[in-house]
Symmetry: C2
Subunit: 252 residues, 2 copies
Amino acid sequence: MREERIWTAAIVIIGDEVLSGRTQDKNVAQIATWLNLQGIRLSEVRIVPDRMDAIASAVEALRHDNDYLFTTGGIGPTHDDITVDAIAAALGVGVVVHPKARAILEDYYATRGGLNEARLRMARVPDGAELIENAVSGAPGIRLGNIFLLPGVPHITSAMLDSLSGRLEGGKPLLSRTIGCWTAESEVAELLAATEKDHDGCQIGSYPFFREGRVGANFVVRSTGRESLDACAEDLIRRLDAAGRPPVDEGI
Amino acid sequence: MREERIWTAAIVIIGDEVLSGRTQDKNVAQIATWLNLQGIRLSEVRIVPDRMDAIASAVEALRHDNDYLFTTGGIGPTHDDITVDAIAAALGVGVVVHPKARAILEDYYATRGGLNEARLRMARVPDGAELIENAVSGAPGIRLGNIFLLPGVPHITSAMLDSLSGRLEGGKPLLSRTIGCWTAESEVAELLAATEKDHDGCQIGSYPFFREGRVGANFVVRSTGRESLDACAEDLIRRLDAAGRPPVDEGI
């Protein structure tokens, strides 16, 4: 059997506001979910401060070992938006005003007070970059090789992901099935490990919770193959049932 | 003027479920907020999969450059809980059953079906570790030098942070004030940069939003000094007012 090629991506979240606890990041979850639909596995996330060296070193560390690298944040019009400069520096390229980005901004701001110097900053890209369409608010995202610079505001990021959908090469999506159970995970730990061991290419994650005064857990079975996934999930259901722990298909 | 010593921490989130997009992480925000109250700055976060090598390499990369390192996830009773083993391996120490952790678990499970092999896994610690009290669900957290192993379930993590409050040395907390404004940030970008430049030791972050059909932004002024913070915030308020952009103190 040929080893399956797995496409991977990493994310660098650029944001003092996330590190300070002020803002709850939502981009990891939405990009992760979107990546999975593209058949791309998220391998690592780093959250770094709005500092040139921190951004550059995270980008440099992750861009080589992954097929794709996404950044969020720091591509707006203000002085703390330094992602373009940091990535250009990391890659040793200059920063240029992209003519098409400039035209998009001129058009967008024609009825919104005009294109001033700050807004023009959003047309600056690392030399050689292409644009990513922004159907929501004018200023485009930026693609440079395998690096995608997206904004920090989640609904704009979401619109840019839409415009990238189906355009990145990926492999088989990682499929999953969730089996819930009103049991402490520690009551069925051996059963879980034995089930995983018997099903090559499947992983079982265990996610405990405490709700309505009762402990329970969701067991998430993952595989890239539909058949092996279903076989493992059905086996897990059978074993939980046999152990007197009624499983709840599709999770709790 | 003597350079102020800044205490820093990093977080490693261990979780396939976060990387798959299934679970929205809440630990970064809660640990970040808590750290700030301790006078400790969060410098970086990495989210890594449930894999020995990924955990070990993130821990190894971050533990030296920070005063404290926190991990969340992977310290439960099931086969996918491998954080203790990964960190012991990274530090080149063995894994032992901590007698006090065992006693705590025996006591906790006495009325909950007894201590089985899976539950006993939660008494395993890297050799030389101390315990962190868990007032919620028995199994303790683990401290090894400057590394703190916390669980993934947010309300249990929260309880462990409570038990650590005031016990880690830190510096001056980073104070902040938020000034909101119903303006596009690109209308006031130069004003923001100039204000920041005039106030040494203060940073101004700009966080745009789109609500009720209008654009606006919150400007967050940060400093470790109350006086310099207030001087910068008041100056920003004055300048926004003078520019015909009425500021909203405490943010929008």
